[in-house]
């Protein structure tokens, strides 16, 4: 009886191993077909990919649907092979988080310290970049890999704004800089307001071309209605702004003091 039981157990084990092998092979085959098929990468170009901030996502958002069918994660964060990827930008040799000082022009030599690791939500075991890099590698792709994710932490403008920093992709950060210059050039701050403690927060809806849609909404008033009116005038006057990375609502904070003063 014992031998029969052992034989049945062996058979079950073999069947189970066969089933697992078949299942894993099937999953890999499906993913391979998906990845190497034409048009896949055109749907996910680099600019879209690097705009993603997985840090703020719960790990469970990715795990159930994608992770099981992928190869196990490497022990270290993958660096795109030199022959396949262009050298990373000199100012950001590897993916890392950069914290901008509150006012780079004013205090270039005193950036705020980088956020402590524990202040950042734990990353999932494998983030989207890693997954895509693995898939490309598996597919034998030779196209340039996506640029390393460089996320800049944008500080809150004042004590009244939410504390901490917000991660912004390079693409968005570049647009924010352009938008800042653009709106600033349209904004008139009379001398009488320049040294007052005024701060106005405005939410502006932009369409894909950068045009202001509707009336900007003041989310925090300065306490001086004429200053607030001047801010609204500046935003509407500045329309269209440079085309934003995405149509929708964007937040602006207006402080009267010029850093150069």
């Amino acid at each position: 009886m014992t031998g029969v039981r052992d034989g049945q157990q062996d058979l079950r084990k073999r069947e189970f191993r066969r089933f697992v092998s078949w299942s894993a092979g099937a999953h890999l085959a499906v993913l391979g077909i998906v990845v190497i098929s034409p048009g896949f990468h055109s749907r996910f170009d680099a600019s879209q990919v690097i705009a993603v901030d997985l840090v703020s996502l719960p790990a469970s958002a990715l795990a159930p649907s994608v992770a099981p069918a992928l190869p196990p994660p490497p022990s270290a964060k993958p660096v795109p092979p030199a022959e396949k990827a262009p050298p990373p930008p000199p100012e950001s040799p590897k993916p890392k988080e950069v914290v901008l000082p509150k006012n780079p022009e004013r205090e270039p030599s005193k950036p705020k310290p980088a956020p402590k690791p524990q202040e950042v939500a734990p990353k999932p075991e494998k983030d989207l970049d890693d997954l895509l890099a693995d898939m490309r590698k598996d597919a034998g792709e030779t196209a340039p890999a996506p640029k390393p994710v460089e996320q800049a932490a944008v500080p809150a403008p004042s004590a009244t704004a939410s504390a901490g920093t917000v991660k912004v992709s390079p693409e968005v950060l570049a647009w924010m800089r352009k938008a800042k210059l653009h709106v600033r050039s349209a904004w008139v701050v009379p001398p009488g307001f320049r040294r007052e403690a005024l701060e106005t927060h405005v939410t502006v809806e932009l369409d894909a071309s950068g045009a202001v849609v509707g009336e900007p909404k003041i989310t925090q008033r300065s306490g001086n209605p004429w200053y607030d009116e001047g801010v609204l005038h500046a935003i509407v006057k500045a329309s269209p702004l440079p085309p934003p990375p995405a149509a929708g609502e964007w937040d602006f904070v207006f402080l009267p003091e010029d850093a150069a003063l």
Binding site: V154, A179, V188, G192, W250
Partner: protein, 450 residues
């Protein structure tokens, strides 16, 4: 047996994967970037570009001279505000002259935004036997909405220039929330005629005229709150300084109060024009008293044996800041307007004098001696914040606030002889107001016209 993928299955899988990843990307980006505001520190512009339509003249009969004077004065007053830069008429795409100020009248805003105008000023005047009527409308051209509509009637005899300045000051209010000061006047002392007389000029330095012509020495002019009288110190009777009134209103001109044998150094109206703080001196010490506008009901305010001078009232009339040498050197103090409850305000500097309380009550401007010359500083009435406003290697003295608390006029010897300058409260926009002749000192900025 390989994996069987149904026809179209690959594209379906790709679509699903693409949709999933795209959703994740958009969601993550939106959540993160919603919290990342674009912080703009300081606008590039300091002045609004304003298009000024020619005010239509609805008078019967019309007067080309009147409307021309009005327009010129309006342009000058807007420029004096420091807030506006005019768009040349030649650039206009819209009408040169105001066509209608009716409530329903609209403007073609793109006509004005395309020429770079932030604002448009429209208006009309009409002078007849009933008065000098003016109406105007200020537009925010970018948002295409009007910021201000006003109409009022002045006396039929009003000067076109005075009416135009009033309009310009209101336009400033539409953008700053405080009136402009082109329609206000500044009294001051000048020796341009050979002796020190009291003069009055518009706040922009124009239209200088004499308020005294007694050939003696006159000093320390001070406006009544209604702008209808000036109290001043003069040696015109005898060899001792006495307080006089120069009036264009109800107050009786001439000596303010009878002499008790002491010198009368300076008189300062309270904020409602019912009493004056007066400095009296017996030679070795001086004290501050208050009197009514008839020179009666003399009340002693300070009780010290020291030299106490330079009173200035708080805007609510409840306190007086003054200078005392009770510690051996002149310093600024604050006390109750009826005397008592004295508190020393200045501790920095060995010689602080000439305080001037801002009409909004927030600041006291004063002069402080540094290396033998004077600078002008601001201190809050509680003495917590003390900041320099005007510093120069030459002397800057006798600060006096504009009625909108945005500007200060003072006397400076930075060009050699003494001239009057104005500066914004934040230290910007320094402008010289006099310079034609003589030494010009002791300015006192008058109230808004009523």
């Amino acid at each position: 047996m390989g994996l069987r993928v149904p026809p179209g299955g690959r594209s379906t899988l790709r679509s699903l994967a693409a949709a999933l990843l795209a959703l994740l990307a958009v969601g993550a980006a939106a959540r993160a970037e919603d919290r990342a505001p674009i912080v703009i520190e300081g606008g590039k512009g300091k002045t609004y570009r304003i298009a000024v339509q020619r005010f239509a003249d609805r008078s019967t009969p019309q007067s080309a001279e009147r409307i021309a004077r009005f327009r010129e004065a309006l342009q000058n007053a807007l420029e004096f505000s420091g807030l506006f830069q005019r768009v040349p008429d030649g650039a206009f795409l819209g009408p040169l002259e105001t066509e209608s100020l009716d409530d329903g009248a609209q403007i073609a805003c793109p006509d004005w935004t395309q020429i770079g105008a932030d604002a448009l000023l429209q208006g009309e005047i009409a002078r007849d036997s009933e008065g000098f009527r003016v109406a105007f409308r200020v537009w925010d051209t970018a948002r295409c909405r009007d910021l201000m509509r006003r109409r009022y009637v002045q006396k039929a005899t009003a000067n076109p220039e005075d009416v135009a300045r009033r309009v310009a000051d209101d336009v400033v209010e539409a953008f700053l929330g405080v009136r402009g000061v082109s329609s206000t006047e500044i009294a001051f002392v000048s020796d341009r005629s050979g002796n020190k007389e009291i003069y009055v000029m518009q706040a922009d330095g124009s239209n200088v005229r004499k308020a005294t012509a007694n050939g003696s020495i006159n000093n320390f002019p001070n406006w009544s709150p209604d702008g209808q009288a000036i109290a001043y110190t003069s040696y015109r009777q005898g060899n001792r300084p006495l307080i006089f009134l120069s009036s264009r209103g109800a107050l009786r001109p001439g000596r303010l109060l009878q002499s008790d044998g002491r010198s009368q150094y300076r008189a300062v109206f309270d904020p409602i024009g019912e009493r004056l703080a007066v400095v009296l001196s017996n030679g070795s010490s001086s004290e501050i008293v208050s009197v009514d506008t008839d020179g009666k009901d003399v009340r002693r305010i300070t009780q010290s044996q020291s030299i106490e001078v330079s009173p200035t009232w708080s805007p609510d009339g409840k306190r007086i800041a003054f200078v005392s040498d009770r510690t051996g050197a002149p310093q600024i103090y604050v006390m109750s307007a009826s005397g008592g409850d004295e508190k020393r305000l200045t501790y920095d500097g060995a010689y602080n004098t000439n305080p001037s309380w801002s009409p909004d009550g927030l600041w006291i401007a004063y002069e402080t001696r540094v290396d033998g010359q004077f600078d002008i500083w601001l201190i809050d009435p509680e003495g917590k914040v003390n900041v320099p406003l005007v510093t120069n290697e030459r002397s800057d003295e006798a600060p006096s606030w504009a009625p909108n608390s945005r500007h200060i006029v003072f006397s400076s010897t930075r060009r050699g002889r003494a001239d009057l300058y104005m500066i914004d409260r934040d230290g910007s926009n320094l402008r010289r107001l006099t310079g034609d002749a003589g030494n010009n000192t002791a300015p006192n900025w008058g109230p808004f016209p009523r």
